[in-house]
Amino acid sequence: MISSYTLILGIALLIIGFYAMLTRKNLIKMVIGFSIADTGTHIIIVSLGYLRGKTAPIIDQAVSAVNAVQKVVDPIPSALVLTAIVIGLAVTAVMLSFIVEMYRKNKSLSIDDYQELKW
């Protein structure tokens, strides 16, 4: 049950993020939009890995090695989301450094001021 809420949350974030990318003129805000969408994606991934009433896939006091398969949630989305987060971070970092350089060259943060190439 909980995971369907988080799924809806994730999708909502995703769409909010895209909406921000489509409507905010400020470059940094666009990147923030991208980050929001990215975060939404991560939440979606985690939601998809959740199994009803189960726990983290780590063998400890709560989960014994013997019946671990019946006790834990899907470890794969957890692994995937880790990778996705790091990659999202990397992309964001590069985007931001582009913006820094663009600002240095053009002294503007509005996307509308960067359309000298067209047609």
Binding site: P77, L80, M102, K118
Partner: protein, 1040 residues
């Protein structure tokens, strides 16, 4: 054999180490860098070799020691190896190209570049969806960062647009991957299949595929990539356009098996739409790199379409199509981007500086030709087979879009090419001599493209040396270009003789022999006139021989493909010959455009045609082929474009007029006959398998109207060569019309006209060439009175115009007699009436030709003009001799033609002695000749009696209202000679066809200009396009 996993390992290790290595000097880091890139190429090449020649099974690499799906696995098969070899090779060469940049910039760029190539390798080999995402991101991030290798506002803003777009696409990809996992419980391609996707899970698959598709830059969601292509350093762009595209394209190929048919169809159509629109928009583009961008985007769209629509083709054909287009597009595109970096001129118009460097110019031409899908480059074969596949699958919408799109592409590419070769470049700074490292990669790719072309010809199709000979001729004369023109001319004559000797045994029938005489012997005689060329005349004889050999190869072609190959060789060679003319830029471009449109029609037409059953030459084998109606129509239009029929003739006067004088005669006298030859081929099939709709009835009308229109237009020309060109159009109209009769007498007359026209039109063009050589003008009213200066040339022109006009006793009358008799016998009365009219009109231009040049008042500036050089006179008199011979003894030619036509029809004429008898009348050319001589003799004797009393007077001694005329210019009535006729005919003389085509061109450009407005340059708008595109595609597919 080294496992390809070491490509990843070594690249990573060296990539991580490079910044440390760099501390030991740039030389060290560069060595490691190039070492790894070379290593990659070597490993993949080794594997490809094993796959192809030793048929080793696909290599599967399980990482972490577990089998898939537990762990991620990589797979290397022949397709992967092919793509990777190409990608790695391009990567290496682009790195060589960037050598100087790499030497100077930070070590970071080396690392990024190396890992980019690593990412490509991983992306191609991996079988795991999420792993694909990771490699895709490696690829993307390194590319993003590399766009900033040259840091200016343009690259930065385009890089940012690129990243935002890429970010959206990869978000969707990621979502797709995890949803796929959620629904199927698997991430490995080996454990997924199309059956697992139903209902909601299709949405997951949709997100995955559409994300990859967005990365492949579909129209209109691709504005960002165009900006990148335009602004970023050429070396990097070549990698983005070639290596990245190849890898992402391959990802699409890998996930294709998962997609249901409706996905595939929509993607395929989206690809076609991209191809079409990109090329249309390219028409308006003037920035060279952006133009290449449009072309790249279009080609990727085509590649997608090909991937989708060839799914049912036989495997080897499918590989040829995909591989051919892939290789072709990528090697030429990389080469062109590299050249763009060397030329350093933004506007296509300024690429004229390339002329300073012959090697680069040749490479440029080679890449342009390859990109346009001309033979022998792989794109040609791919396009040929693709058209066939589309025809078989009845995908006519796709077929049309692909062909029209290709034509657009050809137009802008060749406009660029002709500008580069011809446009004035005196105002531009000459190009600095490029560093060797920048030239090397393009040269390697040029060579590689040629080798691939040869390999396809030799190993896939198994062509013999004769088919390759046209190319061989070009190469031979390229190498011996330092020789003087005369030596090369005689060499060429020898080569033609040798060629004739070689193909003679391959000739199986009279009809081939007849056209052989036209093509080979006619060419040889025409070639004599080129011996007048001075100096080296570089690059002339190679293309001339290429054209002549291609003519010959048309005769002996045994399959549609062979025929079409020779046809295209002929087009290329003739285009290049026309382009040599001083002001031939527009003319040659128009020629190329129309020829290619014709060629595409031929391609489609042959696609519709069932393969001939027998192994003999196509012209014979076609007898037993039942061509479907559509094929007949399309082929006929294609061939009629080449023979300059009304409506599609507008290339003809331009090309004839603007080509060098000694080339024009080839074009008119021989090249046009190739069109007739093709049309005849269609007609031969038609004879035995006539469809219900009488196509040739309408072709007949077109021919007749061509004859009339040509004659009209010829009458209003001031330029001697344009006049002759329109005359050729008119004459070929007669030929086409006669051919369309599909009767014995019709064909006899058509072939008779072919022969006759070849001779008199060659002689006339050579005569005009001689005049031009002496007077340096083609404008007729600027000449006059040259009879006294150039009596021999006058003689030729006189005889020829008698022969053209059909006045007895010369051979032209035979043509008229045969044609009218044939038309009336067939029952085409009104057509015959139109022909009569055309024949009447032809007197107008013929008289104008001879009068304004040779008669009337001699101009002061031509007082010192001498007779044309002997090299012009010899071929004229050879042709004249032949004309006299068949005038005197028409049965010399009528008898063999009768036999040729009897192969297809019962004979309709009897030949009794020297008289030829038809159902309607009779004709004794021999007796006519004697009577004419007789009646000529009587007044001639009278004249001699009178002549004793004649007194030779000076030029101006004329009865001029008792005054002396002031100057020859005002006395020579020549300019606008038939003004009254034009006035009388009024609207008939308006060049409507030209107006129509320029309208078409304007509309195409206007549409291109309209559609490219979608690319506003605003990164946010581009994101909107991408999301809208995804939504629309989603709706169109009706995913659920």
């Amino acid at each position: 054999m080294v496992s390809p996993i070491y490509i990843l390992i070594l690249s990573l290790a060296v990539g991580f180490l490079l910044s440390i290595l760099d501390k030991g000097g740039r030389r060290l880091s560069l060595t490691a860098f190039y070492g790894v890139l070379t290593f990659n190429v070597a490993v993949v090449a080794d594997w490809l070799y094993r796959f192809v020649f030793h048929h080793v099974p696909n290599l599967v690499i399980n990482t972490a020691g577990f089998k898939a799906p537990i762990s991620i696995n990589l797979e290397l098969g022949v397709t992967e190896a092919f793509v990777l070899l190409f990608a790695n090779l391009t990567g290496l060469l682009a790195a060589v190209y960037l050598f100087r940049k790499f030497k100077e910039s930070q070590v970071s760029s080396l690392i990024l570049y190396l890992l980019l190539i690593m990412g490509v390798n991983g992306l191609v080999m991996t079988r795991d969806l999420f792993n694909m995402f990771v490699f895709l991101e490696i690829l993307s991030i390194s590319t993003f960062a590399l766009t900033a290798l040259t840091r200016n506002l343009k690259t930065l803003s385009s890089g940012f647009k690129y990243m935002i777009a890429g970010g959206v696409a990869s978000t969707f990809f990621l979502l797709g991957v995890v949803f796929v996992y959620y629904f199927t419980g698997s991430l490995n391609l080996g454990f997924l299949d199309a059956g697992q996707f139903t209902g909601v899970s299709l949405i997951a698959l949709f997100m995955l595929s559409v994300a990859v598709f967005i990365e492949l830059k579909p129209f209109p969601a691709n504005g960002w990539v165009l900006d990148v292509y335009q602004s970023v350093d050429s070396g990097i762009v070549s990698v983005i356009a070639v290596v990245n595209s190849a890898a992402v394209g391959f990802v699409f190929y890998k996930i294709m098996p998962l997609m249901p048919q409706n996905f595939l169809t929509v993607f395929g159509i989206a690809g076609v739409v991209t191809f079409f629109f990109s090329n249309m928009m390219g028409l308006k583009q003037e920035n060279a790199k952006r133009l290449l961008g449009y072309s790249s985007v279009g080609q990727m769209g085509l590649l997608m379409a090909v991937l989708v629509f060839t799914a049912n083709a036989p495997t080897n054909i499918r590989y040829l199509i995909i591989g051919g287009l892939f290789f072709n597009h990528l090697f030429s595109k990389a080469g062109l981007f590299w050249l763009a970096g060397i030329v350093k001129q933004e506007k296509t118009r300024d690429w004229t500086v390339l002329r300073n460097n012959k090697l680069l110019l040749v490479l440029f031409g080679l890449f342009i030709f390859a990109l346009s899908g001309l033979p022998p480059f792989p794109g040609f074969w791919a396009k040929w087979e693709f058209v066939k596949v589309l025809v078989d699958a009845k995908m006519f919408f796709v077929l049309t879009s692909v062909l029209v799109g290709s034509l657009f592409e050809l137009i802008f590419l060749f406009r660029w090419f002709t500008i580069t070769v011809k446009e004035d470049n005196s105002e531009l700074e000459p190009m600095a001599s490029p560093h060797g490292s920048m030239v090397l990669p393009a040269s390697v790719f040029g060579l590689l493209g040629s080798v691939a072309a040869f390999a396809v010809m030799k190993y896939f199709y198994g062509f013999g040396w004769l088919q390759v000979l046209p190319i061989g001729a070009v190469l031979f004369f390229y190498l011996t270009d330092f020789l003087p023109a005369k030596v090369k001319g005689f060499l060429s004559l020898g080569a033609i003789a040798g060629y004739g000797y070689c193909i003679y045994p391959l000739i199986e029938s009279n009809i081939q022999l007849f056209f052989g005489a036209i093509f080979i012997v006619g060419s040889a005689v025409n070639l004599i006139s080129t011996l007048n060329r001075k100096n080296q005349s570089r690059g002339f004889y190679g293309f001339l021989l290429m054209m002549i050999f291609s003519f010959g190869n048309l005769l002996i072609a045994t399959s549609y493909l062979e025929f079409f190959l020779s046809w295209e060789f002929m087009t290329i060679a003739s285009f290049l010959l026309i382009l040599r003319g001083r002001k031939a830029q527009k003319a040659s471009l128009m020629y190329m455009i129309f020829s290619t449109a014709g060629a595409y029609l031929l391609m489609a037409g042959f696609g519709f045609a069932p393969a001939p059953a027998s192994a003999s030459a196509l012209i014979l084998a076609i007898e037993s082929v039942n061509l479907p109606l559509i094929s007949i129509i399309v082929l006929a239009i294609g061939f009629m474009i080449k023979s300059g029929s009304l409506g599609v003739h507008i290339w003809l006067p331009e090309a004839h007029a603007e080509a060098e004088s000694d080339v024009s005669s080839f074009i008119s006298a021989i090249l046009l006959k190739a069109g007739v030859f093709g049309l005849m081929m269609v007609a031969i099939s038609y004879v035995s398998h006539a469809p219900s709709f009488d196509v040739f009835y309408w072709i007949g009308w077109i021919g007749v109207l061509t004859a009339l229109a040509g004659a009209f237009m010829a009458s209003f020309q001031e330029d001697a060569k344009r006049l002759l060109a329109y005359s050729s159009m008119s004459q070929v109209g007669y030929i086409v019309a006669a051919l369309a009769l599909i009767t014995h007498l019709g064909w006899v007359s058509a072939l008779y006209l072919v022969f006759n026209h070849m001779m008199f039109k060659s002689a006339l063009f050579i005569a005009v060439a001689g005049i031009y050589y002496r007077t340096h003008t083609r404008t007729m009213y600027k000449m006059g009175g040259l009879i006294s200066k150039m009596p021999w040339t006058f003689m030729t022109v006189l005889m020829c115009i008698i022969a053209v006009s059909g006045v007895p006793p010369l051979s032209g009358f035979g043509g008229k007699w045969l044609t009218y008799t044939a038309f009336i016998t067939k029952g085409w009365y009104l057509q015959a009436g139109v022909l009569f009219f055309a024949s009447g009109v032809s007197f107008l231009y013929l008289y104008r030709l001879i009068h304004t040049i040779f008669l009337g008042q001699l101009k002061y500036e031509h007082q010192e003009v001498r007779e044309a050089p002997v090299w012009f006179i010899i071929p004229q008199f050879i042709f004249l001799g032949a004309i006299m011979a068949i005038s005197m003894f028409p049965s010399l030619i009528i008898k063999p033609l009768n036999v040729i036509a009897m192969r297809y029809f019962d004979s309709s004429i009897q030949i009794e002695g020297l008289t030829i008898i038809s159902d309607l009348g009779y004709w004794n050319g021999n007796l006519i000749m004697y009577v004419t001589m007789g009646v000529f003799a009587v007044p001639f004797i009278l004249l001699l009696l009178v002549k004793g009393k004649t007194q030779k007077v000076k030029q101006f001694n004329i009865v001029y209202s008792a005054e002396r005329p002031e100057s020859p210019q005002t006395t020579h009535v020549a300019h606008n000679m038939y003004a009254h006729y034009r006035k009388a005919l009024g609207s008939w003389t308006v060049p409507r066809v030209e107006a129509f085509w320029s309208g078409v061109s304007e509309w195409a450009h206007a549409f291109g200009g309209f559609f490219r407005r979608v690319y506003t340059g605003n990164g946010q708008t581009y994101v909107l396009y991408i999301i809208m595109y995804i939504v629309v595609i989603y709706a169109v597919m009706g995913v659920q």
